[in-house]
């Protein structure tokens, strides 16, 4: 059962990765990578059960945190061009 689930998640990861490679816009790629990261969390959890190592859940939890923060960070980076506070952008300073 775990193997079938893992296979399904892997298929979805392949699909998400092809969307990330196809683009066409940068937002498509970010969305695909975000979806890919969510699938990574799931597959780490499933693999933890498959190999009987429940410690994997901690890794999955941390990966979920990193995935979210990474998505927001990349969005901010492409919006403002750097990771600093957007002081020099006059319009919509509270964006994102």
């Amino acid at each position: 059962m775990f193997a079938v689930t893992a296979l399904g998640i892997l298929i979805c990861m392949v699909l998400a990765m092809s969307r990330a490679l196809l683009g066409p816009t940068v937002y498509d790629r970010i969305m695909a990578v975000n979806a890919f990261g969510t699938k990574t969390v799931l597959i780490i959890a499933v693999l933890g059960f498959m190999s009987g190592r429940p410690d994997f859940m901690d890794i999955a939890l941390v990966y979920a945190l990193i995935n979210f923060i990474g998505t927001i960070a990349v969005l901010k980076f492409i919006r403002y061009g750097d990771m600093g506070w957007p002081r020099n952008v006059p319009d919509e300073p509270d964006d994102l």
Binding site: M1, F2, V4, T5, L7, G8, I9, I11, C12, M13, V14, L15, A16, S18, R19, L22, P24, T25, Y27, D28, I30, M31, A32, N34, A35, T38, K39, V41, L42, A45, V46, F49, P54, M57, D58, A60, L61, A64, L65, F68, T71, I72, L75, I78, R79, E92, D95, L96
Partner: protein, 127 residues
């Protein structure tokens, strides 16, 4: 009793895998970025939820289940936030093509030239 829990968890895992694959297919099939976001939402909510529910049933009353529940709560809290940030960033970017709307989809094939149609064709070319 264990066979019931095993069966339920297997069912949840299989349904979760199904929804995850459907969401992945939607990522590829949908016509533009904004509609693809909805497909990504399928994998993030029901796909992830069912798979984690299946694992929780396997885990039983242990700390593993609590951790899986934390992962689920965290995913369901962050996925709308990330989707909203993505859509907002995409909409506020002037270089990004505007969302393909219902009227555009249904008016693109006819080659007459009203302003509305030219916008739809512009989106088609921008893709």
């Amino acid at each position: 009793m264990t066979w019931l829990v095993d069966g339920l968890s297997g069912l949840a895992l299989l349904c979760g895998a199904f929804f995850v694959i459907v969401g992945g297919a939607g990522l590829l099939r949908m016509p533009d970025f904004y509609t693809r976001m909805h497909a990504a939402g399928v994998t993030d909510t029901l796909g992830a939820g069912l798979i984690l529910l299946g694992l929780m049933l396997q885990g039983g009353w242990t700390l593993i289940t609590v951790k899986l529940l934390l992962i689920l709560i965290f995913l369901w809290l962050t996925s709308p936030t990330a989707s909203h940030a993505l859509v907002r960033a995409a909409l506020s970017d002037p270089q990004n093509p505007p969302p393909l709307l219902h009227e555009d989809i249904h008016s693109v094939p006819s080659p007459s030239s009203s302003t509305h149609l030219s916008e739809g064709e512009r989106i088609e070319q921008a893709k």
